[in-house]
Symmetry: C2
């Protein structure tokens, strides 16, 4: 398995044809990282990879089925809609291996059951991330991140990012590896928000920002003030 | 009843001897606004008023029982701990009058029932603010704000604020009146976060920031990025 941190490794993005996953693919491609876009449909994954290469000439990106994508890197990003999270993780049971990190970016918006995007669903385990941790094979560790970063902003390479993302997980070392990848995207800072259970709150930032977006016709993000300058992960 | 917006009006702070209420009193006193500190104990309210005058010479501040305090201004701030919210509102039933705004700042931290301050309680109505709206006399409107502003930062007049506070409420005009008072504190920007039900999320920022504070040994706050420059309440 390629290391996601090595310069020639790849970052698998499960659901990478969706808005968030595709935006991340663009930004990481621009930063020179290799990407594997995963989709239920290999055709759509391949199409998305072509679009990334067209937007970022020279990008190292390929499109694969979700299971092959999940095998292609140590740190796997899950960017499917909440509606598809459970089914996707079921389908990945044979693909994910002990030692991998799964970065869950899903948010239980009520929109998943035709409710409002400014409201959220109660998840039995407490958060989408905790549901993911329950579903992944033993030895796979879930980290939760990237809830509050808007897909439209990510996808518009002309927009400079200037915001934070909260990272929740039970081990700081795991979070730091994820943070290092996230911070390869210029203008995006990763903040250690606590254990995985704190995803219960971090996931709620999405409906909150959607509510703020509606009021100000913008794509809002979050900054945590009062943090020390410089490196947050030493 | 004095108008809270007029230059000679007063801002009642119920629970103003507590950390958050006292910090707000200091900041508003410094901004030249009149304050009425409310407490169950008139003595403690009076003592707190003396302390404010000592920290901010020339401050217009007095200490009263909660019920008399609640009668002294159009916009009443409720800054008691969640544990005391329900009892306090019961006791204010004859003091609050139709047309008043009650700004609920309480947060249902699990610490209220000897749990962790990084966790929160589920409130039947959805949020502390919605519980407050259920309990106030008819004609009193609840607005929710100031959850993420740290009391230690407010109380340290040497620290310049540089953060936002989310304001939730069902009518923009009510929120705008509250925002105008909040923004009398330099460095504090009030952001329209949506209807009162959004307090379910805004209240969760407190345990989130407490979790971040523990990791970075700081007093963190929140900034919403991507908002238009300038006035947010036109």
């Amino acid at each position: 398995m390629a290391s996601a941190e090595s310069s020639d490794g790849s970052i698998p993005i499960i659901g990478g044809t969706g808005a968030l996953g595709y935006g991340l693919a663009l930004r990481w491609a621009q930063a020179g990282l290799g990407i594997v876009i995963g989709s239920r449909s290999v055709e759509r994954a391949t199409e998305a990879a072509v679009r990334v290469r067209s937007a970022v000439p020279g990008a190292t990106v390929e499109g694969l089925g979700n299971d092959d994508a999940a095998r292609s890197g140590a740190i796997v990003f899950l960017t499917v809609p909440f509606r598809a999270q459970s089914e996707t993780l079921n389908n990945l049971r044979d693909a994910l291996e002990p030692g991998q990190l799964l970065v869950d970016c899903t948010v239980p918006l009520a929109a998943a059951v035709s409710g409002r995007a400014t409201r959220s669903l109660g998840v039995w385990q407490g958060s989408a991330a905790q549901q993911a941790q329950e579903m992944v094979p033993e030895g796979v560790t879930v980290v939760s991140a990237l809830h509050s970063v808007g897909a439209p902003v990510l996808s518009d390479l002309g927009t400079e990012l200037d915001e934070d993302t909260l990272v929740c997980g039970d081990k700081k070392a795991d979070k730091a590896r994820v943070a290092a990848l996230i911070q390869r995207i210029p203008g995006l800072r990763a903040v250690n928000a606590g254990p995985l259970e704190t995803a219960r709150i971090a996931e709620q930032l999405t409906p909150l920002l959607i509510s703020i977006n509606a009021r100000y016709k913008t794509h809002a993000g979050i900054r945590v003030t009062g943090l020390p300058e410089g490196e947050l992960w030493t």
